[in-house]
Amino acid sequence: MPATAAQREVVRRLDGPAPWLSELVLTTPVGGRGRVDPGEGDRLTDRDLLRVCVAALARWSRTSAPAPVPATPRVLRRPWHRAFVVAGLSPHAHAVRTALAGAGRVEGGRRPTVLVVGGPLDAMVAVHWRRRVERGAGLRWRRLWAEMAARGVLPRVVDLAAVAEEWTQRVPSGSVHVLFGGSTDEVLALAGDLVGASPGDAEPARANAVDTDLLRLLNQALATAPAASRLRWVDGDLAGHLHRPWTRAPGTPTHELEWAVARAGTLADALGSGPWQVHGDVRRVVPSTDAGLARSVPPAETLALALEVLTSLEGGPPWPTA
């Protein structure tokens, strides 16, 4: 079966791949939507090449016997530690969780101090996008925003006013704190004071846009595969390939920017007037309107990452029928 022009071009771009990797790329049927078998003389687009890479990666990840992932040791909550909960889905919320866990603090307990940790709306939605993709969605960044704008609602975990309101009903008065720090260090210091801990350093949530875009494409290619194949890329032995530090958050797509700014304004008003304590400036929830910000994930960047991941694979056949 002769390989397609797109498959041959991917092998060329891999720049001298191992024979098994060439074979993997050249013999894997390319699934999903796009041109069927682009022929000689057809102009090959980044999307054509990306389909080839994703098909090969998906097939490779269906190989049996993935490396075992070490179990995370269970940490017990000390009764003398102040009970706390970190709520909301923002890059800084992740940092607070990580730092407090690093300081030996375990979330939960009776009558907790609730830390609702916020950030710019676009950054929070990016973390939400990453989480949905990690759970198997094939959703594009732009599509996620289009859905939110069309429905006029934010995802529950991003609507921090709703989150804070819900906790207000469940814990004693004065226990809910809304945190909007300018920097990670500032937020960590605030959280430490409220919980009575000395958190160490921590990075904001990892939601690298290009990683997430490739993961969503892999989700599509593995939609009919056993779940274990997909999960290898999320928290299994292949997760390291798509879990790089956050280099930049994608901006709100231009088409939804006006809605997002208005909705963030409403959210800021609600956060500023609720029965909870606010630390920092809730106007920081307004998404960036910086004209220079990239507002989508360019296929060329996802393709570059896919080629990089293919190059870094170790192993060889046998792999399953794709």
């Binding site: 013999t27 049927p29 390319v30 699934g31 069927v36 704008a149 009919t224």
Partner: protein, 402 residues
Amino acid sequence: MADRVIMHVGAPKTGTSFLQDRLFHNPEVLAAQGIRYPVDRADGQFLAALDLMQLTWGGLEKQAGGAWDRLAEAVRSWPGTAIVSHEILGYASRAHVRRALESLSAPGGGTEVHVVLSVRDLARQIPAEWQENVKHRRLVTYGEFLDQIRDPDRTSTLASWFWGVQEVPEILDRWGGELPPEQVHVVTVPHPGAPRDLLWERFMGVLGIEPTSLAEGTDRANPSLGVPETALVRRLNERLRDVVPNERYRQFVREYLVHQTLSRGQTSARLSVPPDVFVWADELSRSWRDHLSARGYDVVGDLDELVPAAPLPWVDPDHPDPTEVAEVGLKGLDAMVREAARLRDVEIELHEVIGNLQEGIARFERRPTERVKRRLVREAGTNPVAKAGLGAYRALLGKNSR
């Protein structure tokens, strides 16, 4: 091991839904003729095709895991003729075709594979495909659709899909390139005005089925809409974009509004192609006819039927008559209100059922023995005596749950 496998790989809008419905509903009649259409649910072969080509389809692909392998196993285990039929199979790449044929055939050979492609002239297929796009909640206007399919690069998702399932010579080359031409069958859809059963007889002839034997069916078809109906649904898609989940869209818009309401009793103008597109489609169709003629495939019907008949009057669906659209909208509104009222009645009935059940549970919980049991369970967490009593009670019952 199947002696013979018949792969019917398209094209969409050529009577495939009707055919598949009859094949699905008459397994015993088919078996008596030595034929099997292996499928455990009406859309089983569609899911298998999704699985083969790793296609996503509004979430339906989640039900498709392993569907192709199951289909292939069922085909291999049948000692006669097996039929596989789905119109999206035309989209398969050469690699997918090879995998499909290898998995359906007996190891070491011995299975005779036949490929069937039913084809219709482009002047009817182009508007039909646009209409399918609209029915799959796309927003593309007819003008944009025509521009994209005529783009020589064909790089858009829409164009690549259209040509993937409609470019007759390429599909036959991908599916039948390795087969003797007499095992590649082209069934042409007759021009309008032909006898009603002619296409059915052609299908039955190529599949080797007695034409009158497949009596059972739901008469499920994939009916067409006219100009104002399609324009209305496209505009409705704009309103519902991202608001209604796919499964609800399929249930209420595609099935109820389109199939059960708007496509019935319509007298509106039919979708057609503008004059310049007709000329282009006519030229392309003629080149396909000549190409197929030279390949020596088995033609069931007449290759001249691939060439469009006289053009239909051109009515632009991007600028429909507002009065007609309003009339169609009223028809849809009428039906949807009736359906909403019916569902409200169902909801009220269900609430009554729930109310009765809740009353029953409340009566049960008020019984003295039940109240003692619940108190015992509640206090067992903190009171050692209650815990011991609960343990003894469970031991008496011989089980470890409440």
